[in-house]
């Protein structure tokens, strides 16, 4: 269902029952008030000598009350119905004074009932209660309203033979316990209304009284509001549909723009001019689009980085693997020929295997480090354990190369905050380099110190070292000293590049300098993790 249809339907579904209910309630109240007036009139009349006279002459008492026409000809204004805009002088619910003349001249019925016309009375079906019938034709003076009163015993029978038969409907209502029952009827062709009122006493010929007002219809002003209400509902509906038009159009336009923007991977923003909720929605969409675009960009960058490194290193992995296969094939041949294994061949194989392992680890380190947002965990890392692990890993290769690898760590822990895998990889790379570029009989030492809230991790060797001008360029990716390249052609500068990046991301300093022993000295230094004790 469209927004418009939903709005229109909501308006109708809310307004119509509301209007109908209000009109019905108004009408009920009006009628109730009208009946109350008649009833009060009847009770007051009976209590002020009406009863006495009735009981004196039960067979003749009853008929038209008073004889004077009401002072005004207007129907409802003088009736006991709800008064509209009248002054406070006319008390509500009091018996209507018109037509009622209190008996002043002794017990003469004729005073009370000046007219005693035989009349037809017929109850009208309710749907005919209104209409031209009750109203005098236009231009003619209205016929006077008058009141009739009839008395009945508790068995609903009257001693007065002229009294109309007690209406069945009213009887049923009184039997049901109501203190007043009313209905419309027609008397001599005039619209009338009558109420049946049980009296405070239950004996005698006037225990129940019927009070009629002739020449008047029960008030139904509320019904006159039906047409205005329908028109009001129509106008309301029209207004809602009219105002929702631009909103619906803007939402449709926004929908189209969002679709177009999505088709271009959110490259163009949607129109977000304005200050209302729809503009807010457009802005929220633009924000979401920006975020998504940034996210997609990050992912693409990371993917590109990974692809680039995979491409760069696939050949680096394949090369040592090929060399290793060659070494293994050569060793098998030596065994088949019954020769001793060439130790150089065995050592070279060990190195190729080691190199491949570290290459794969470096690759995963690079995947973590490169891209728009490096994923670096930060936990306390004990460098003592780390140095022992990294040294142990390189010992085999060092031994195979005839390089002595030693390490020294303080007692206890040296804790920094960072990514244990990356730091270990960085340190391993530096040690690996020191071992790999050293010679038989050479030395490598790893020394970890701490103090004054900082640590220092030095890797020194007595290898060939490096000219000063090359030292600065050492950690650049894919750069290797010429000497190193010639001795380990399948190597890659990735290791030192990673060491530099890891140091950078952890806030460590990484320094390269000539070692006092003739080779190279690489030093990581940085702050200790808070809570770690100095040695």
């Amino acid at each position: 269902m469209t927004l418009r249809r939903r709005l229109g339907l909501t308006v109708l579904l809310t307004a119509i029952p509301l209007v109908v209910g209000l009109i019905w309630l108004w009408e009920r109240l009006e009628l109730r008030s009208f009946e109350d007036g008649l009833r009060t009139f009847a009770v007051t009349h009976m209590e002020s000598q009406g009863r006495e006279r009735c009981e004196e002459n039960p067979t003749t008492w009853g008929g038209i009350l008073g004889g004077r026409p009401p002072p005004r000809g207007r129907r409802n204004d003088d009736g006991p119905g709800p008064r509209r805009g009248r002054g406070p002088g006319r008390g509500r619910g009091r018996p209507p004074p018109d037509g009622f003349r209190p008996p002043r001249r002794g017990p003469g019925i004729g005073e009370d009932f000046p007219f005693d016309p035989p009349h037809r009375d017929e109850r009208r079906p309710p749907d005919q209660r209104r209409g031209a019938m009750g109203d005098p034709p236009a231009g003619m003076p209205p016929r006077p309203q008058r009141y009739e009163i009839w008395a009945y015993a508790v068995d609903y029978l009257s001693d007065n033979p002229r009294a109309p038969k007690f209406p069945q409907a009213l009887r049923a209502n009184l039997d049901a316990g109501e203190d007043c029952a009313g209905e419309s009827l027609e008397v001599n062709g005039r619209p009338s209304y009558q109420v049946a009122v049980p009296m405070a006493w239950t004996t005698g010929p006037c225990a129940i009284v019927i009070m009629r007002k002739i020449g008047v219809e029960p008030p139904a002003t509320a019904r006159e509001l039906v047409w205005p209400a329908i028109i009001l509902c129509g106008v309301l509906l029209f207004a809602v549909l009219l105002t929702s038009g631009p909103i619906v159009r803007r939402i449709r336009r926004l929908t189209t723009q969002v679709r177009e923007s999505a088709a271009e991977r959110y490259a163009t923003p949607v129109d977000a001019s304005g200050t209302d909720e729809i503009a807010g929605l457009a802005r929220a969409f633009n924000d979401a689009g920006d975020e998504l675009r940034a996210h997609v960009q990050t992912i693409e960058e990371r993917e590109q980085t990974l692809r680039r490194f995979l491409g760069n290193t696939t050949h680096d992995v394949m090369l040592p693997l090929t060399v290793l296969q060659g070494h293994l094939a050569a060793m098998r041949k030596q065994l088949e020929a019954g020769e001793d294994l060439d130790p150089l061949l065995v050592n070279a194989s060990l190195e190729e295997a080691q190199y491949m392992g570290s290459l794969v680890h470096n690759l995963s380190a690079v995947a973590k480090l490169e891209g728009a947002s490096p994923t670096i965990s930060r936990y306390p890392v004990d460098l003592v354990e780390l140095v022992e692990r990294a040294t142990a890993r390189q010992k085999t290769i060092a031994g195979a190369r005839g390089v002595e690898l030693n390490h020294a760590v303080p007692e206890g822990e040296v804790v920094v905050e960072g990514d244990i895998t990356l730091i270990e990889q960085a340190v391993s790379n530096v040690i690996h380099n020191a071992v790999r570029y050293n010679e038989d009989g050479g030395h490598v030492a790893v020394v970890l110190r701490n103090g004054s809230g900082r640590f220092s991790l030095r890797v020194l060797d007595d290898g060939p070292g490096m000219p000063e001008e090359l030292l600065a360029r050492l950690p650049e990716r894919r750069f290797r000293g010429e000497e190193a390249r010639s001795r380990h052609p399948e190597g890659s500068g990735l290791g030192l590049h990673i060491a530099r990046d890891v140091a950078h991301h952890h806030g460590f300093d990484l320094a390269f300098r000539p070692s006092e022993h003739g080779g190279l000295e690489v030093e990581f230094s940085g702050p200790l993790y808070e809570g770690s004790d100095d040695m």
Partner: protein, 224 residues
């Protein structure tokens, strides 16, 4: 009495290799191939647990968690995934150390020895290295049972090395912590003291080894 080591490793080749190396190093290994079998073991019967994290059945970390509810046995974790979160989780759950694959057998054995050696360190003030015996508390030194007279600085130097047998101690640490900065100081003086110490130790002089690029170390296994 050979120390028992429980190995939990699902790969047959690697498991066989590790068991063989443990045998060669004079340990008594028991090898189970999945986590559920590991959960059925009594960890306190072993001196060390070598646990692969990627296991069929129970996950390696679950085994670790289970072990730690009842036992303080040292746990060495083997991990193929070089993943920080895995390591941090393992260490938090009570793993003592980890070795990342691929590793050399020597590397693994070094970690095994390191784990098993640790508690022995704190035991007493008496350190034995070959013929050399150093009583750090009583400040006595004997070579093959014969007491050796040392100056205060010489003894302090030897004691500093003896407190961490097998570990290399940096020269600058010794200079800072053992030598008296008022009267003596500097690497030259240190070398002189060491040289005198070695002379007094005689045959046991080789126990005080020079470590290239670092300093000195008390060798616990001399004559290799």
């Amino acid at each position: 009495m050979r120390q028992k080591i429980l190995l939990v490793e699902d790969d047959v080749q690697l498991g066989r290799q590790i068991v063989s190396h443990l045998h060669q190093a004079d340990f008594s290994p028991k090898w189970v191939q999945n986590g559920d079998d590991a959960l059925g073991e009594q960890p306190d019967e072993y001196s060390l647990l070598i646990l692969d994290l990627m296991l069929p059945g129970a996950y390696g970390l679950d085994v670790l968690k289970h072990v730690r509810t009842t036992s303080d046995v040292p746990v060495l974790v083997l991990s193929a995934r070089n993943d920080t979160e895995d390591k941090v989780r393992a260490l938090k759950l009570g793993a003592d150390d980890f070795v990342t694959k691929p590793f050399w057998p020597e590397e693994l054995m070094a970690r095994v020895h390191a784990r098993l050696r640790r508690p022995v360190l704190q035991r007493s003030g008496l350190i034995q290295a070959g013929d050399l015996a150093v009583d750090v508390i009583a400040r006595r030194v004997e070579v093959a049972g014969a007491p050796i007279e040392l100056t205060k600085v010489e003894f302090d130097l030897l004691a500093a090395l003896a407190k961490r047998p097998g570990a290399a101690i940096p020269r600058d640490w010794l200079v800072d912590h053992v030598l008296d900065p008022e009267r003596e100081g500097g690497g030259r003086t240190l070398d002189v003291h060491i040289s005198r110490l070695r002379k007094k130790l005689g045959d046991a002089a080789k126990c005080v080894a020079t470590v290239w690029g670092v300093g000195y170390r008390l060798e616990t296994q001399v004559g290799e």
